[in-house]
Amino acid sequence: MTQDEYHAALPGHADFALPATPPPKPLNGNRPGRRRPALPATEVHPPAQLEAAPPEAAAPAPARPEPGDPEPARGADPIDVWDRRVAGGLAFLRRRLAGAYEVDDFGFDPELNDAVFQPMLKVLYRDWFRTEVFGIENVPDTGGGLVVGNHSGTLALDALMLTVALRDQHPKDRHLRLLGADLVFRLPVLSELARKAGATVACNPDAERLMSHGELVGVFPEGFKGIGKRFSERYKLQRFGRGGFVSAALRTGTPIVPVAIVGAEEIYPILADLKPLARLLGMPYFPVTPTFPWLGPLGLVPLPSKWLIEFCPPIPTAHLTEYADDPMVVFNLADQVRETIQATLHSLLEKRPDPFGL
């Protein structure tokens, strides 16, 4: 396939232009988290809101009595509320101890995830990083999707925050199934935590199986090049490898949703990388940050930067299924995804003049 044929086959992509950037307005100072109930009322983006509005409007309606419930109940009979909570906690404990829960083929444990992992990560997401999410309506409500993001931050906290963003902000509360490096699955404990949280090894059979089962898959094609780069290189996308993620999406006809994450670069700024020590320890890099290793375990506390996550419009691939092995198509599409993420990163950075502002 030549470049011209490629453009002819892609009516939507031939006149591909980077998304028009809205006039930047500094968002620092807005407390996120409380935005969501206010959204349907303000109607900032009427066309985009149309599809999202019915579930958005439907979701708070049954959800509202629940947060409201304890208030009148507390006035009437405080024992009831606490009884219910204690009973719920004990029932959860009993189910865990008796093994009465379901695990899927990949080892994903939705109950453990919702009861333990997500609430813990949400504290980091909401109170520590003050994350704001844009373009959540670009993530499909049903069916498969491949979420491709920029990777940064020494430890892959950006991947975890992305799962929280989708679970918390998406109208359908979708689970993101991450694809992780095989180093993660080599380590005891960490490998099992990753599997229970829904991750699996980054390889094409697994990615295609998840996507063809209609799951939302998250991938960071930069890999260790992205999270292990110096602070001076922040927000510069690294090479995207062989584009294996594109061929997996093409083979299953799954739309690709590029996502730009701003804020993870500042949590552990890498000032130097001690390569010999990393080789000795069998790690991809050994970071030296302003706090690590000087402060020991305290150095593992991430700096409280302000995070912005923006989902870009999905790139459909259903009409390109037969080109999954065409390196030309694969590289072009990978480049398109990369450029979209890079441009969105720049526009997000303009919205956030102060990395550690509110």
Binding site: I79, R94, V103, T200
Partner: protein, 349 residues
Amino acid sequence: MVTGVSRFLGARVAARLAADPRVDRVIGLDPFAPSPALAGLLTDVELIRADARAAGTAIAELGAEAVVHLAVTSAPDPQSGGRAAMKEQNVIGTMQLLAAAQGADRLRKLVVRSSTAAYGASFRDPAVFTEDTEPRAVPRGSFARDILDIEGYVRGFRRRRPDVAATVLRFAPFISSTAETSLTRYFAQPLIPTVLGRDARLQFVHVDDALEILHRSVVEDHPGTFNVAGAGVLALSQAVRRAGRVSLPLPEGTLSSAAALARNIGVGQIGLDQIDLFVHGRVVDTGRLVKEFGFTPRTTAAAFDDFIHGHRGGRALSADRLAAAEHAILDGIRRVRAAATQDQEHVAP
């Protein structure tokens, strides 16, 4: 002709085939006599006490139309020669049987028992194996290496005798309320050693479903390689909890050496095969089996439930006891609270 009839699976398959009117004659080939419990099953089966070397003459003389090769041992048995005898039976036995089968003109069908251990164990493996997945590394366990050899011989046989329908069935570990395998013995212990920091995803297949699949592959025509397992997954920790046992996590190295020591003394049969399984887990896709055989084995969870029913003894934590404890705690809290409010009411006036 069925090999390995002195053992649990072989005896049952032979008995089922003998009871099927579509099968005229069933001949059981095994170097050992079946145990008295199994001998009762084998009344309609003609037994030949010989090893695979005699299979050549037997297959040719009897004009066998189908050979079911089940004489594959999954763990060395210290009573009958240990690892050397196991390899002799698995690898050399299969080689000789297939050599004999190759020369048999009337042979139309070959069914070989294999195992999902054929996929090996590596950290870069995909989470779910399909029949086309190649093992990434030669496995450490002796059984897995034997299985790879056996499948290699079957591939050669298929090339040389394309007219024979060769079925390779890759079974997940067998489980049922009565079956005795190294894994069922493992789960029957009150205190179950596991690998620290690992929680393998396991799949089982119920013995009755395995028998049904074996039976169908003999009386019907299903050439190819198929994964045989129950749908769904149990994490090892989950399986231990469902069985009401207590797990004892040990570092991998300690567990390996402890298992080796136990093997040397002659107790316990945890080998490198099992340790690999507990570190990596093994999940297979059974889509091809269900499509070709039109038969869905019961799920892994259901098969394991049947096992739990057969092994009620030795449970430390049963679901009933946990539920009772939950109720007791809740009742206790309610009583304390009710008493507290009553006290307050007394004090208030």
